[in-house]
Subunit: 315 residues, 2 copies
């Protein structure tokens, strides 16, 4: 069995759950994460270290991280907005930190009340803290609004590339690009990942793409063709600021895994078990609408996935 050719980074327990007004009970979160891990996912963003009064859905994040860190082979990722959050995440045992930094000044001010430059300063502080106390922990930045902003409209590509360079110089391990607003198109995805890779090389990180206008998988394909090998996705398309009924936000993990597996690109994920994990999401958030075409249609007759499961073992 060959190793996975792409890494699917499941963001549902963080990005999805913080977008839902209700709070999923901790026991359900843990069971859901266990099921995602059992399906073969090897990186999960399990929560966000922000004050519980701002995001009560994430009040149990330390407990969730500690639980997830015991699952074999799993990289446990947590979102941190600042050094204080980073220190809490390290204490809890997170393996990887992710920090969102907006390429749009307007979005940055509206979202975190800090300029881009102030956020780059936060990133430097976080990197210093991590290197000093937990050198094995990786730090990722996600450049949000990289493909457009609902406040300022178009975001100049030079701003995105320039920010990626600043973040790489700040010492982070990976810089990904996020289509926060569902405005990306495949030509732009290729152009921007190529431009970023030309500047920061192997520090070019994940594609975090949305399906707001139905282009999530097409954009993922474009990113793959441009050399991206880590893809964020959310089970059931949960989260990611859906605009309208039926318009999911995040790329649906199940559909993304189906696409790659059908193409012969191993994800390491067992699609049947992944679809089965939806029951835990539904149990923890009864009635919450879940998206996904592959779960609805089922896998095709005669489907041969790239990831072969032998006696329950996966690559």
């Amino acid at each position: 069995m060959s190793p996975p050719a792409v890494l699917i980074s499941e963001v549902g327990p963080r990005d999805g759950l913080q977008s839902v007004p209700r709070t999923m009970p901790t026991a359900h979160k843990l069971a859901w994460i266990d099921a995602l891990h059992a399906a073969g996912l090897r990186e999960i963003e399990v929560g966000s270290f922000v004050p519980a009064k701002l995001l009560p859905q994430m009040a149990d994040v330390a407990e969730v991280v500690a639980h997830a860190a015991r699952l074999p082979g799993l990289t446990v990722m947590a979102l941190v907005p600042n050094r204080r959050g980073a220190e809490a995440a390290l204490t809890a045992g997170a393996h990887k930190l992710t920090i969102p930094v907006s390429a749009s000044e307007a979005h940055s001010l509206a979202n975190v009340r800090k300029t881009r430059e102030q956020m780059v300063g936060e990133v430097r502080d976080i990197v210093a803290a991590v290197r000093a106390t937990a050198p094995a922990v990786k730090v990722e930045c996600g450049v949000s609004t990289a493909f457009g902003c609902t406040i300022q409209g178009a975001v100049p590509e030079a701003d995105v590339v320039g920010l990626a360079v600043e973040l790489a110089e700040a010492g982070v391990d990976e810089v990904g690009l996020s289509d926060t607003t569902g405005m990306a198109n495949p030509a732009q995805v290729r152009r921007l990942f190529r431009a970023v890779r030309a500047e920061i090389g192997e520090r070019t990180g994940a594609a975090h793409l949305h399906n707001t206008r139905g282009l999530g998988l097409a954009n993922s394909l474009a990113a793959w063709e441009e050399g991206v090998r880590t893809f964020d996705a959310s089970q059931g398309g949960l989260g990611g600021c859906p605009y309208a009924p039926g318009a999911s936000g995040n790329v649906v993990t199940e559909d993304l895994v189906f696409m790659f597996e059908a193409m012969g690109i191993a994800t390491g994920v067992d699609l049947d078990r992944l679809i089965a994990a939806r029951t835990h999401l539904q149990a923890g958030l009864p009635g919450e609408p879940l998206y996904g075409m592959t779960p609805e249609a089922g896998v095709p007759r005669g489907f041969v996935p790239a990831t072969r499961v032998v006696d329950g073992a996966r690559p």
Copy 2:
């Protein structure tokens, strides 16, 4: 203004309407086709010449063809299953005939009760009739189940390529590939279009792709990258054998146009007017579910389409 870089071939009035049990009244069909034409679509499959007792939704096809043929610049396409249908289509004034021929023997027998070889014979008869009586009329074949079959499962690629060669030798102008069952993936789309083009060159025709498992736009992107320049699509994703609620069949025209326009690839279609044309579809089939992410989310802030409309004029 540059000419469109891709041709979007709208199949809703045929593929869509024949999949719905109700019959859209003729006046609504005509108004819908007028609105699609006004949005800039330059090829529309307006109906199917099959016995009215089999498909009562298409009983008015001759009247619909005659009306559409008066719209300036529009290529009026009709589906014909045999020579008798072709003769009726020519009498009505169709500009282009399309004949579905299945690459799966099992599907062919189940669908039209003829073998593939018998269907190739029908195609020869139709080509002879067209060349003798209406030499300006084009003949297209769509190879259905080209990417897999719900009855026989996988369809060998050699069968698809071999059938495409036979159809080209039978004298048709274009041979397209259809993902009748929503089983295609982008790697397969590229491989198969490349293999067909290597054999029949410029006679390689349209990509007819479905969105059953959410891959419709990713597959369209793959086909574009492989040189395909004609894409079938259906307004609101109507038709195309949806499997389940929310699982549209045909690629949604609005989403496909948005993708290309956002990429800078002109379709000649005005997206706002295209979305407005949905009101005619809804008026003619009240309550029928329509799909499409772009119509739900709206075009992004600051969106600049590749097709510029100046004083109501289009390329």
